[in-house]
């Protein structure tokens, strides 16, 4: 990488990066522009951009499906799961990091062991359990089991171990109770870890369709992802326009959030690898 060689290799590097960016973005452009094409154009032409611009895909999908209800259902899962999981994982993570209760290391070791068990093992027995409780078709079936997770506790614990004990002791000296310390000292300091946990949890729930497929597979309970999946399966070829509109509708909100918070999103995923 000497100064003399820099321009040529640099031009090559940018060329590869730009080709890569086009390859990554093309499918998204393809999706959005298809969503504005009339049905005949989707069938017969190969032009990327619509020749006649139409919104019938969007109006059609709102007639066929209760799209707002799909949104509502997705939010009814993702919001409580994210809030509960972030709060409860932080709570347990704090205990594992800073409260030396007897038996702590054993419980923590046990927790780490359970982290290694592949998720597929729990699939069927959990379904049997939830079926027997009578939660199939109810939102609790996904919210309660996801209310706290081992991996997020681990992430919080790793981060909170770095918080100086003196800060906690000082708050205790000032007469703060344990819950006050957690809420007013620990949570603000652990904001980066909480952001990571919240982003990963929200995305996991928002993008998941397997959970809703198993437990919420009645049209009135469909989430956005499940709605798209089921809608694709109904009338093959008939509703191409509407499928593109729906795919765009479910993709764009998260993309917008991502562009505003991309630093946090990328960090969230990088944190996952660093904590191992």
């Amino acid at each position: 990488m000497t100064a003399r060689k820099f321009p040529l290799t640099s031009i090559l590097a940018y060329a590869v990066l730009i080709i890569g960016a086009i390859a990554v973005l093309y499918p998204f452009v393809f999706m959005v522009s298809n969503s504005f094409k009339p049905g005949s154009e989707l069938l017969n032409t190969r032009a990327l951009f619509p020749q006649t611009f139409t919104l019938t895909g969007y109006t059609g999908v709102f007639e066929e499906l209760n799209v707002l209800r799909l949104f509502r259902n997705s939010l009814l899962l993702a919001v409580p799961i994210t809030i509960l999981n972030t709060l409860l994982s932080a709570l347990a993570g704090y205990a594992f990091a800073k409260i030396p209760f007897p038996g702590r290391n054993y419980v923590f070791g046990f927790m780490l062991t359970t982290m290694m068990i592949p998720a597929v093992l729990f699939l069927i027995p959990t379904y049997v359990l939830i079926y027997n409780i009578g939660w199939v078709g109810r939102f609790e079936s996904l919210i309660v089991p996801s209310a706290v997770s081992v991996f997020n506790i681990f992430l919080c614990r790793q981060f909170m171990s770095g918080i100086p004990d003196e800060l906690i002791e000082a708050a205790r000296m000032d007469g703060a109770g344990e819950i006050t310390i957690f809420l007013q000292v620990i949570l603000p300091l652990a904001r980066p870890a909480l952001a990571t946990v919240a982003i990963l949890t929200f995305m996991g729930s928002w993008n998941d369709f397997f959970g809703p497929l198993l437990y919420l597979n009645q049209p009135q309970n469909w989430t956005l992802q499940l709605g798209l999946l089921q809608f694709r399966g109904t009338v093959p070829g008939e509703n191409a326009q509407q499928i593109w509109a729906l795919t765009t509708i479910i993709t764009i909100p998260l993309v917008i959030v991502y562009f505003f918070m991309q630093e946090q999103f990328v960090k969230a995923f990088a944190n996952v690898s660093l904590s191992k």
């Binding site: 990488m1 597929v120 079926y131 957690f182 991502y258 991309q262």
Partner: protein, 315 residues
């Protein structure tokens, strides 16, 4: 305090231990309260299903007739180990993951190396490459399905370039679906490799490069003998996670519209898809549970082998 001294003090203080333990519990009892929500949820939705899964494998159990449980002993295990469909799923995944892991991490490494070198626009490119990662599988497979379809733009490009002579109906082909899924998944996930490997590159001591450059090392040699070995922990992490997730693949195939048996020739069957079919199409919960355990054992075995034979670092 040395270990010997610690043992000594532990011994001498033994008679007082119960009251001191009680003191520690009293002072730190909050800890139990704070982990209680997790413990309760985990006991019900983690430990109980774990025990239940072992129990279920010894029965033929269906939701249709819950009373009709037949004890089959290790019958489900014998059937699972010899089940050609289960192994068809495993071999499909093996092909898929071989291509996916090589492409995704190779591409990730190349892009990360380029991003590490360029002076301007690195953040912009990283943001773009990460975009598919946050997009849902259902949406991406809906797009990928159309992009790669016989009348889609990708095949049109290949036809124009003379690389293929006629449209390919890859979904019904006996071997192509898992390859196409690997390509779509590479597009979806390589951004993760970029971000993780780039973070690793920023962690490398730059003086190593300067010293090697003084000795006249080429760019390739710098990459081969400094960058690559330094990225071992990151690459190892990516491999382990890829194998664990890959063997549990399900959503991709389902989103592409294959039936629960992965098509007529089971060309897109994965182990989890087969498990799903066993439980919800054949309503055989006991056997599905066995398949889940078999797959979990396979994953655990592979992960163990990776840790055993590919040490993450020299430490």
């Amino acid at each position: 305090m040395s270990t010997a001294a610690a043992v000594q003090s532990a011994r001498t203080s033994k008679p007082a231990a119960p009251s001191r333990l009680w003191q520690r519990i009293r002072r730190n009892g909050w800890g139990y309260m704070f982990i209680a929500p997790w413990l309760i949820v985990y006991a019900i939705f983690g430990l109980y299903p774990l025990v239940l899964s072992f129990f279920l494998t010894y029965f033929n159990y269906s939701f249709v007739n819950p009373g009709d449980q037949a004890f089959v002993g290790i019958g489900n295990w014998v059937r699972g180990i010899g089940d050609p469909l289960f192994w068809k799923g495993v071999s499909n995944i093996a092909i898929n993951q071989f291509i996916f892991i090589a492409l995704k991490n190779g591409l990730g490494l190349l892009i990360a190396a380029l991003l590490f070198r360029v002076r301007f626009g690195g953040r912009f490119f990283r943001t773009v490459y990460f975009l598919p990662v946050i997009t849902s599988t259902v949406a991406l497979m809906t797009i990928g399905d159309k992009l790669a379809s016989p009348d889609g733009p990708l095949q049109a490009l290949l036809l124009n370039g003379g690389l293929i002579s006629r449209p390919i109906f890859w979904k019904s082909d006996p071997s192509l679906p898992m390859i196409v899924i690997a390509l779509i998944n590479t597009w979806k996930w390589f951004g993760i490799s970029v971000v993780i490997l780039l973070a690793g590159m920023y962690g490398i001591d730059q003086r190593q490069y300067e010293a090697a450059q003084v000795d006249g090392a080429s760019s390739w040699q710098l990459f081969r003998f400094i960058t690559l070995p330094s990225l071992r922990p990151q690459l190892f992490f990516l491999f382990v996670v890829d194998v664990i997730n890959g063997l549990q693949m399900f959503g991709e195939v389902f989103s592409l519209g294959f039936d629960v048996y992965g098509g007529v020739n089971h060309q897109a069957l994965t182990p989890v898809l087969y498990l799903y079919a066993t439980a919800f199409d054949q309503s055989n919960i006991g056997y599905a549970s066995t398949l889940g355990l078999l797959l979990a054992l396979l994953i655990a075995g592979l992960t163990f082998l990776q840790f055993r034979f590919v040490p993450a670092s020299e430490e």
